[in-house]
């Protein structure tokens, strides 16, 4: 499948509120849906995404847990096997490293290893942190570790509307889904339909059409690629921006069709590149016969280092519209001198909004 039409009606909603609404509507629809994890029911309410749910559905369906990620993940797998629909929340993706055994040795294999007798429909929500000194252990994006594993699904919505649609699709999915959120997207608003809807697995979206280069952004890098496209327009370069949305299953057809048209691909990941999603996408495109002509393939992502805390070099750790635009420029105009866009224009709204500690 390829692009899907934007939801018809809707109100302006933040990414965080869209997540909250999705969970709320699904909990109202299906009493087997419940949500839990460290601090889901305190006053911060996972940055608002679980606000009001405990009051509405009770402590039996919305509760905070001890600091025991390994057992709590296994608990979720067991509850899912038993017919429930757990949503397990982590305020940082870094903590998923305590959940690997249950997610990969159990959840991913439940349906297959037991000959189809059981299934594990659970959602593992995990937020990627960025900026304000998140540093080495609160800034990691680890979704590719899960995208490597058959039996798991992985999604990384980049806007409020997809956040709602993907969350509903993930909750209704009969398989374990790693749901990747990005802290800096929480304030970003979009028109979100009021009624429940699903943004289904395996469908990339073409966000803006273009002819010179295909820009694939992942998670928080989608808005950065959209801004990049605007900057490139000033330089007379037409970029087509694609959001894969779901990382496993991954819809490469849409990407390959675009590259067949533009002849150039730059994947901008919100994570490290080695053995990451950007590697997978480049490999899929490189393998495809559709590009017999051959295309220019490149990728960007985190610098291949641990994320530093101090802001000056933390900034260099991440791709941004300016560095992405310069990279594209050098791809489209190989001979030409290096080019950089107007720094002011390159700034993203939320970069001004966000202010620590977490």
């Amino acid at each position: 499948m390829s692009t899907q039409s934007e939801p018809a009606n809707g109100r302006l909603l933040s990414y965080a509120d869209a997540l909250r609404e999705a969970v709320d509507q699904e909990m109202a629809r299906d009493e087997n849906v419940f949500t839990f994890g460290i601090d889901v029911d305190d006053h911060v309410a996972i940055q608002g995404t679980t606000r009001g749910l405990r009051e509405r559905y009770g402590a039996g369906r919305v509760f905070s847990t001890p600091l025991s990620e390994d057992a709590m993940t296994g608990f979720a797998v067991g509850a899912a096997m038993a017919g429930m629909r757990p949503i397990h929340v982590h305020i940082r993706q870094d903590f998923l490293l305590l959940c690997m055994n249950q997610m990969i040795n159990m959840a991913a294999k439940t349906h297959y290893m037991y000959g189809g007798l059981l299934k594990a429909p659970l959602v593992e929500r995990a937020i990627i942190g960025k900026s304000w000194g998140q540093g080495p252990q609160h800034s990691q994006a680890l979704y590719s570790l899960f995208a490597h594993i058959p039996g798991l699904k992985v999604v990384a919505p980049s806007n409020a509307s997809d956040a709602k649609g993907c969350m509903i699709a993930a909750i209704r999915d009969d398989n374990p889904v790693v749901f990747t959120e990005h802290r800096l997207l929480y304030y970003a608003e979009a028109f979100v339909p009021e009624e429940p809807f699903e943004v289904l697995p395996g469908r990339s979206r073409v966000c803006t059409e273009g002819t010179d280069v295909t820009l694939v952004g992942i998670s928080n890098m989608v808005p950065e690629c959209l801004r990049t496209a605007e900057l490139l327009a000033d330089a007379g370069i037409s970029a087509e921006v694609i959001d894969p949305i779901w990382l496993r299953p991954l819809d490469t057809d849409t990407i390959i069709a675009s590259v067949a048209k533009t002849g150039r691909l730059l994947v901008v990941d919100n994570a490290w590149t080695a053995c990451g999603m950007s590697a997978e996408i480049l490999a899929c495109v490189a393998e495809s016969d559709a590009l017999a002509g051959g295309a220019q393939l490149a990728r960007m992502g985190f610098a291949p280092t641990t994320c530093p805390t101090t802001p000056t070099i933390e900034e260099d750790f991440y791709p941004n519209p300016a560095t992405i635009a310069s990279k594209v420029y050098s791809m489209v105009k190989p001979g030409a001198d290096a080019w950089a866009p107007d720094p002011e224009k390159a700034k993203l709204a939320y970069q001004k909004q966000f202010k620590g500690p977490f």
Binding site: P66, A71, G74, A79, M81
Partner: protein, 315 residues
């Protein structure tokens, strides 16, 4: 206890013993291409506990799960076919010896990664508690599993939420070939478990009747909503950690160790309690069922190529 009770216990004990002995005999033929962790000698734990469970209670175990699977009423044909890697196996041949499952018998899937099944049991227990039908789940694991952090995390959560879980530790004093002294700072697991507010009951000599009684009592409390109970059953593994044979020549343990356990062998003990003729009838029936199950496994076809990519994802 009635005669029927003894007969039922014997039937279960003997079935497991004979099935695993048969598995060991078949193993050299390479028909079973799957690592087998036999429970021979340890049957009484699974049998005693499962006899105290209701049919609609759940059980979950480990790669050493043959005894539990059969004690909980798992299909013998499905079991044998699974070992043979056939499509009629309880997991379509995809799981093998370490992943026995029979959802109809409320026997949940076994896991080959030590202690991974413990938090899984909590999830089921959560569902059972919400359902409010006084059902429970018995979670089986070995002494080695209690060294994994997830075991303690699970004790805390189960106790905190008074989940209907019966934790059953089969303490055979070995993890593969490594003795407790190399693994436990303090010899008594009960002292660790009580620290989570969980009552502990132990049985040192694998008395199937005592185990059954302890489990029955424990389950009454669990069904009443008092929260989890922990049972430690000392036991002894007669065969290799993995594989069909004895291994007293390996040097890590002596045959003397085994003597006391053989002398108190529960299969013999309970068998001796049955009326003349009854034992023989049960034995004959068991041999019969085993022969049939092997024939069933032999005749069942291997999974076809399309099975490789079937059930990767649930639809």
């Amino acid at each position: 206890m009635t005669d029927q009770d003894f007969a039922r216990l014997y039937r279960s004990l003997k079935l497991i013993r004979r099935v695993e002995e048969r598995v060991a005999e078949i193993y050299p033929s390479d028909k079973i291409k799957s690592p087998v962790h036999l429970s021979i000698g340890q049957e009484a734990v699974s049998v005693g506990v499962c006899d105290a469970l209701n049919p609609d209670d759940y059980a979950i175990g480990t790669y050493r799960g043959h005894a539990l699977y059969l004690a909980k009423g798992g299909s013998l044909n499905g079991f044998m076919a699974e070992l043979f890697g056939k499509i009629d196996g309880c997991a379509r041949g995809k799981g093998g010896s370490m992943h026995m499952i029979d959802t109809a018998a409320r026997m949940l899937g076994c896991s080959a990664v030590v202690a991974t099944n413990i938090p899984i049991a909590l999830g089921y227990a959560w569902k059972l508690k919400r359902e409010g039908k006084q059902r429970a789940i018995a979670c089986f694991f070995g002494d080695g599993a209690t060294e994994e952090g997830v075991f303690y995390e699970s004790l805390n959560f189960a106790s905190l939420h008074k989940l209907p879980v019966l934790f059953v530790c089969e303490n055979n004093a070995l993890a593969i070939h490594t003795p407790l002294e190399t693994r436990w700072a303090h010899h008594d697991i009960a002292d660790r478990v009580r620290g989570f507010g969980i009552p502990v009951h132990g049985n040192r000599d694998m008395d199937v009747l005592a185990i059954r009684e302890i489990a029955t009592e424990a389950l009454a409390g669990i069904r009443a909503g008092n929260g989890p109970v922990f049972m430690e059953c000392h036991t002894y593994r007669w065969r290799q950690h993995v594989g069909p044979n004895e291994d007293f020549d390996a040097g890590y343990r002596s045959r003397d160790e085994m003597r006391k356990w053989v002398e108190s062998d529960q299969v013999e003990r309970i068998g001796a309690m049955l009326g003349a003729g009854e034992k023989e009838a049960i034995d004959a029936d068991i041999e019969n069922r085993i022969v049939q199950s092997v024939a069933f496994a032999d005749e069942s076809p291997f999974p076809g190529p399309q099975e490789l990519m079937t059930h990767v994802y649930a639809e």
